[in-house]
């Protein structure tokens, strides 16, 4: 009974911000900054607290540039999509082949390499960004999509290698061995036998890489100030301007931005534990 109550109240409190997000996106700006409690959407004209008149204006004006910025939301969303997708493809590809190597071959110092891979994840972006910036300037990479794609690929490799290693370890070696004795090369065995069987693992890994590239902020903000700005950087940049912020439009944008993440989370729900613990804990 106590448990029920505790669980119920936590759930209520935790879900509230999500619900409020939804409500804010369908209010007018005046209603958002109205200190009186407005929670119930209603159709009646001139609704008074606790009701408000829902509107889709936030979604309609989604792409209007805010306070002097040249581009609208969709521009930044496009940057996020391009950078997220391409870096995800690259990390999953590199991570899968690396994980396969560690899973199937005797590689000197394998254990140390794997933990080196994992530990790259712990470095705070701000602590390594200076030399990266210098390197990037040398190669003309700041402010480019490719610069961030490269960086996110590397950043997500720890995740991709560890997750994929867990998945590939679960595929019995006998399958490749059967292909090897049937006259296929190691590479063919990898592409024709392992990859098809690792599909679920690759999909799960891709989702987690995409989420972390999609959400990344530290590097995106410091290596960029013009052309390849992603959504989190764009949103966080609005912070100084709280009073003037068109909240309905922003929250509509936030919802559009997080919707794919929520969908993907639901798709990989059986593997979430594995994903967030780098494959060290299996369900």
């Amino acid at each position: 009974m106590v448990k029920r109550f505790f669980l119920g109240s936590y759930f209520f409190i935790a879900a509230l911000p999500l619900v409020w997000l939804l409500l804010t996106s369908v209010k007018t700006r005046t209603d958002v900054i109205d200190p009186s409690f407005r929670v119930l959407p209603t159709q009646t004209v001139e609704a008074s607290p606790p009701s408000f008149n829902p509107t889709t204006a936030g979604y309609r004006d989604l792409n209007e540039p805010i306070s002097g910025s040249v581009h609208g939301f969709l521009h930044f969303l496009w940057n996020s999509i391009v950078i997220g997708l391409l870096s995800t493809i690259a990390s999953v590809a590199l991570g899968t082949s690396c994980a396969y190597g560690f899973s199937r071959f005797d590689i000197p110092g394998a254990r140390d390499w794997l933990f080196f891979t994992l530990s790259t994840r712990f470095l705070p972006p701000l602590a390594v960004v200076v030399p990266l910036l210098v390197m990037y300037r040398t190669f003309d990479l700041p402010n480019t999509h490719i610069g961030l794609i490269l960086l996110y690929t590397g950043f997500n490799l720890s995740l991709a290698v560890w997750l994929m290693k867990g998945f590939i370890d679960e595929i019995p070696k006998a399958y490749e061995e059967a292909a090897l004795v049937d006259g296929y090369s190691r590479w063919q065995a990898f592409t024709r036998i392992i990859l098809p069987q690792a599909r679920t693992g690759m999909a799960v890994t891709a989702v987690f890489c995409l989420i972390s590239a999609w959400n990344e902020f530290g590097f995106a903000m410091t290596l960029n100030n013009a052309r390849a700005i992603t959504v989190p950087v764009y949103f966080a940049g609005l912070q100084g301007d709280i009073q003037g912020i068109p909240w309905p439009r922003i929250t509509a944008g936030v919802l559009v931005f997080v919707a794919p993440i929520v969908v993907f989370t639901v798709l990989v729900r059986n593997h979430i534990l594995r994903g967030v613990t780098f494959g060290t804990v299996k369900q």
């Binding site: 019995p172 399958y175 061995e177 059967a178 004795v181 006259g183 190691r186 063919q188 036998i193 098809p196």
Partner: protein, 355 residues
Amino acid sequence: MLELVDLSKTFPDGTQAVRGVSLGADPGELLVLLGPSGCGKTTTLRMIAGLESPTAGCVRLDGQEVTHSPASERDIGFVFQFYALYPHMTVLANLEFPLQNVGLDAENRQAAINDVVTRLGIAHLLDSFPSQLSGGDQQRIALGRAMVRTPRLYLMDEPLGTIDTGLRSDLRETFRTQQLDLEVTTVYVTHDQEEAMQLADRIIIMRDGVIVQEGSPHEVYDEPADLYVADFLGSPGMNLVQGRWEDQGERAFFATKESRISMPQIEIENDRDITLGVRPEHVSVETPLEESAAHLTGRVKRSEYRGDHYILHLDTPAGPFLVRSDRAHTSGQMNVRLPDERLCLFDTKTGRRLA
């Protein structure tokens, strides 16, 4: 055709799975590797296939050294202990996979597949996925996948290990027929001695990573090289009675604590510890008895019904003793004649066969 010379494998963890195995197979010959679980059969097979690197020794195929060449260059058909059917492919795709990189055109591939499909009777399974099939069916497909090509060598790792007895001998025959038709040299691993006897041109008995005996089914059954083989082959195994050799000049005896059995003259030093072995089916229940013949007297404790025969459990002064008989005997004393030509004598200490 296939030659193994002093082949050894020590795993990185120190396990000596195979220790100096040497053997050879003639073209078209079917060798059976027989031995208890963990004796190194699979490891030997994997080294022949190129899936494991030997730590010493060498492997030759057609006179050509292949010890360290990749598995894919050896042209071998392998059936794994646990099927290893590709779970993401249908049965048909599984059967087709080994043919796809050997440069056959579609028509010939189809013909090869049709051939095994009819031989194994798996036409109705072609569109299913391995996970939808029973163990027996999966085993058949695994067999089919190896048989669909005509490789230089078949390696079979307990290919029928999980199938019911009836189907099992059917499949065994199917495979043997095809193997004889195609004259493909085969190394067949099993721990089922009956299967070994049924299939083998030559049986190789392994134990603890070492070959203990090698020979035709006839040889290994009738002339076991040591106590281990004597006990391991046959069901039930050989009767083994411990005793002492008494050489009295013109006559020799095998003496246990309570009995003395007269023996033919053999060059064995007096007083040596000897184990006498004789198979239950080679002794005969006889009354009356020739005085001079080797015999044992015992009391029947129990008759075990085996369908077409009985196994009598006897209590003799020399210890428990089994006799195969056509009739049941419920009780009473009986004489058992031990035919000279069927007796095996082993040195008790070393286990080696003396005569």
